[in-house]
Amino acid sequence: MAQLTAQKRVLHADLHGDRIRAASGSMVAYEGNVDFKNSGMGGGGGMRAALKRAVAGESISLMDCTGHGRVHLAKDAMDVLVVDLGGDTLTVESEHILAHTEHLRLDVQFAGLRGMTSGQGLATTTVTGQGQVAIVSDGPVMALEVAPGQDLVVDPDAYVGSRGQLSMNLVSGVSWKSLVGEGSGEPFSLRFTGHGLVLVQSSER
């Protein structure tokens, strides 16, 4: 079973004859015998996912890494975090996915209006199954807990992903008056309710 280990801004992937998928062009070095091959459209999620991606504009470009050895992956010197999934679902912006192990399924979930504010596409990616996902973030990720009575509001640009039974709505923190002319700078935010974790990065770029 391939093992992903994060070390600050580099991800180490140990391959034992199996396969991982990684963001195209993210390999910085490797040891051993590893083959790199483009996964084709849809990030390997099959034709249906490819179609949905095309419609949603949630772009993702992954490559297959197979063989024996250790691959070092990195993206724009961003911090790396490995999330272990045990059959549950992680929702994450596709641009934050660095790599994932073999038996995970990537799909597209339509997120409604949210994409309009952040320019990150109208849809978001879900990762389901048993395995590991490596995500990158601008600065370390904070996991903020959402519980009933503890709603969390997040800047769309700082939002990385979420996990658990959460529902997300778009909120406007400003009165309609200030939308005309100067905005408040936080014109739209994402409000999370329910029970789960929201991953937030430390930069609002």
Partner: protein
């Protein structure tokens, strides 16, 4: 889960050595000599134990756990934070600060990352029509468009481009800081525009949060600073501009050819004299400050029409050169 409220990293002081009361929460009273500042701080610049290393929090984290990993807890998994475990007016990590909001705070547009609770963000211009005191506290028309008033109760997380964030406590003092590095300040303080373009001065007693690209370096005058690396200064008289002597000689000789062309980028410094503290950041990367344009534009009123015309021509030529 219980966490020590002021130690979001779990065990150990993340910044190395001895417990520094409030990394980033410098010192009451800027003017006095500060033990520890000006000399290298232990822990800065060296690998930070406890950061990005395994047991971040110690305990297994239910939502992240999944099946227990044979190789121990996965590296770098962040501690789960919630309203209770977020620190009170302190850094969550070097790049994120948590403000416990109970009333109002001024915040730079876009600094908010996330918040819990009931918080309303209003443009300063909008808010001042409701609350007249805002105009007295925020005395800078140039910057007013870039600021919001956060109002309500809750915990607000702020960040700035992933830069290091530090909180500063002013005790009946004054501190001038690069406007694009100021993230938030308490309305107990008064903001005024500095005479030096691109800088604002905070006066009074209260807390503010500023970002720096790399750790902040504190020095005492007499000192010359590169304008890009200069973050701010406290208690010093305003700096004068110092030009490299050799460059001055050359540009006086070549004055006819237009001195602007022969810049190495390092011939101009800000010169500080007198008593006080100067704050530097360890990088020179500057952010485009939209207010500087407004500031310069407002000063063109000093020009006669003919002068303004020739300035316009020079600016057009410069814009064309850069393409």
């Amino acid at each position: 889960m219980t966490y020590p409220p002021n130690n979001p990293y779990g065990g150990g002081n993340p910044y190395g050595g001895q417990p520094q009361p409030g990394y980033g929460q410098p010192q009451p009273g800027y003017g006095q000599p500060q033990p520890g500042y000006g000399q290298p701080q232990p822990g800065y610049g060296q690998p930070q134990p406890g950061y990005g290393q395994p047991p971040y929090g110690g305990q297994p984290q239910p939502p992240y756990g999944g099946p227990p990993q044979p190789s121990g807890p996965p590296a770098g998994v962040p501690t789960t934070l919630n309203v209770q475990s977020l620190p009170d007016d302190d850094n969550v990590n070097p790049y994120v600060f948590c403000i416990t909001l109970n009333g109002e705070w001024f915040m730079s547009k876009g600094a908010m990352l996330a918040y819990y609770g009931n918080v309303q963000f209003d443009a300063v211009t909008e808010y001042s029509s409701v609350q007249a005191w805002v105009g007295a506290k925020f005395s800078s028309p140039i910057y007013v468009q870039d600021w919001v008033v956060a109002q309500g109760h809750g915990k607000v997380l702020i960040g700035d481009r992933g830069f290091d964030l530090n909180a500063y406590d002013l005790d009946d003092g004054n501190l001038t800081i690069k406007a694009s590095n100021l993230c938030a300040f308490s309305p107990a303080l008064e903001l005024k525009q500095s005479i030096v373009p691109g800088f604002v001065t905070l006066i009074g007693t209260g807390k503010f949060i500023a970002s720096s690209n790399g750790p902040v370096i504190f020095v005492e005058p007499p000192f010359r600073a590169d304008p890009d690396a200069l973050l701010g200064w406290a208690d010093c008289p305003s700096p004068s501009v110092h030009h490299d002597a050799q460059w001055m000689t050359q540009s006086m000789l070549g004055a006819l050819s237009g001195a602007l062309g022969r810049a190495s980028g390092e011939e101009r410094q800000y010169d500080f004299t007198g008593k006080g503290t100067i704050l530097l950041q360890s990088s020179e990367v500057a952010r485009e400050d939209p207010a500087v344009l407004r500031l310069v534009e407002s000063q063109t009123q000093l020009l006669t029409n003919a002068q303004a015309g020739s300035l316009g021509q020079r600016l057009v030529a410069r814009a064309q050169q850069q393409h």
